[in-house]
Symmetry: C2
Subunit: 314 residues, 2 copies
């Protein structure tokens, strides 16, 4: 009997979820654990909202809105419409009714001292998701964005309310209050045969995970191979503010910059076919089609990445 | 210039709201303050729910479901459906999406230390309600129902989940934790030209109000006339468990029993035309059509009651 390969993936929201879906559709199935950014979690209208976890949950449950890449397909917004129309509430953050059901459940569970880790596992089981989905930690570690125009903004204020238009001067990852690694994250990383960093925004999605006290050190000490996949293709990001932020932080918009940013953590880097060649001393690189436009290409990228890493030891 | 008459009304949910609508449509407009039962308020799915206040709010805002007499007209239940279908939550308490918007707002406000009194006033203003709607108090005073079959039940468990079918042995009104009368309730009663007790269930809707520490004593000391309207018509209640509970508590199902129950508090009692005559020493009585089947009859009952009381001093 072949043992199932154990893969742990550091991951953000919409961009990362594409790779997650590819991995979840691999045959034979590896055992997948997603360690998800919660730096953009926030409280809104009294609800605890975890955008990246929910995007992954809805994607793997097959209920995600296929156009948006987040939220629930065919969702309505009757609660939000009522808040705006009857009570004059500023509803800048879209909450569908079906989506809101999950926020209600989570808020109620967390008010009752259920951890985010336990709640997320329970929801994944109820929705029939085979993969393990873990928040990066149970404490709140809100990412804040220092902007030229508005000073310090909370993440969703910057990202959704201001549509990531303000110029970023600095990104701050709160770790002062964090209790550190959860037992589940520690175990998933320690036992992993392979650690992947999804093609998520390095500064907004992956850096908050690396800021969890103890996580970076644990990663660096792991004997398992660690590979990242480029979020930069052809001098831009597929979606979202990755390239814009790199420019604002005076970084060259290139896969090389990302590879360098993860330097010391990763052993391998999956670049895109379309990007110019580069090499970094001590870092294995390969070039694949990373533009996951359909399920077939998502699975292909997952499979080709795994095949490449398997070749290392042969 | 004629001064507006000030009327304070002790009131429950659906039955009382009919009278409230009649009073609100009187010409000239009296200044109305509704002092609303909160003994059936509860926390559900992490939401603070105030069924009687909401029924009154929706009724006076003109958005109430005309068939049910509670909830919002043409409401959907997408959040609730999602909780049941996707997450296997037992959704025994119906929460429409538009209704849920109000619960969300209230829960968020109260978590932020806004009092129920202040929140309710704010909502009434936003919805353009001219009347003042006050919770009977700001502390939680949950009514509990001791039943033969299930022992002690919380109010909504008895009323909604068990559809008020268990046999009632005792009704308990919590007042131990209550902070007593709010300044707003005290002022509304003290300044009232007339105090009314709506034709709500005396044991489930009015008794909890009378159990607010200090309220009964304040009422008894008021110089203003105090009148109650019968909730019993022709040996039964128009709707709900009033008659059933009276039988279970070994009380005669009659307006006389209700008048006696309010004895010492009220000066006048509005009986229904259909009921057999009775008299209680020291209590003025009149007989009107109290079966408020349409708006015209709601207004007529309100007007005739006021006219009757005005005649006392002539």
């Amino acid at each position: 009997m072949a043992l199932r390969q154990k893969i742990a993936v550091l991951i953000g929201g919409v961009g990362g979820a594409k790779l997650a879906l590819g991995l979840a559709n691999l045959q034979p199935n590896p055992h997948l654990t997603f360690i998800v950014n919660t730096g953009d979690d926030f409280w809104h209208l009294g609800l605890k909202i975890c955008p990246d976890i929910d995007t992954l949950v809805y994607t793997l449950a097959g209920t995600v809105d296929p156009q948006l890449g987040w939220g629930v397909a065919d969702d309505t917004t009757h609660v939000l419409d009522s808040l705006r129309q009857r009570y004059a509430i500023d509803t800048w953050f879209k909450l569908g009714d079906q989506d809101l059901a999950l926020h209600l459940l989570r808020t109620n569970a967390m008010r009752g001292q259920v951890s985010l880790t336990d709640f997320t596992s329970m929801i994944a089981r109820r929705l029939g998701i085979a993969a393990t989905i873990l928040p990066m930690c149970d404490a709140e570690m809100p990412t804040s964005i220092h902007t030229r125009e508005h000073g310090e903004l909370s993440f969703q204020d910057y990202f959704v309310r201001q549509r990531w238009q303000p110029v970023v001067e600095k990104i701050a990852y709160d770790s002062g209050q964090a209790a550190g690694l959860s037992a589940q994250v520690r175990e998933a990383l320690t036992c992993a045969d392979l650690v992947m960093i999804a093609p998520s925004n390095p500064w907004l999605s992956i850096a908050p995970i690396l800021a969890v006290p103890g996580l970076r050190e644990l990663l660096m000490a792991l004997p398992a191979p660690k590979v990242a996949i480029t979020p930069v293709i052809g001098g831009d990001a597929v979606k979202g503010p990755t390239a814009k932020i790199m420019r604002e932080l005076d970084l060259e918009v290139s896969a090389r910059t990302v590879a360098g940013y993860y330097g010391g953590i990763i052993d391998g880097f999956v670049d895109d076919l379309r990007n110019p060649h580069f090499s970094v001393a001590g870092l294995r690189t390969t070039r694949l089609d990373t533009l996951m436009t359909d399920l077939e290409r998502k699975v292909a990228l997952a499979r080709d990445t795994l095949d490449w890493v398997r070749g290392w030891s042969s």
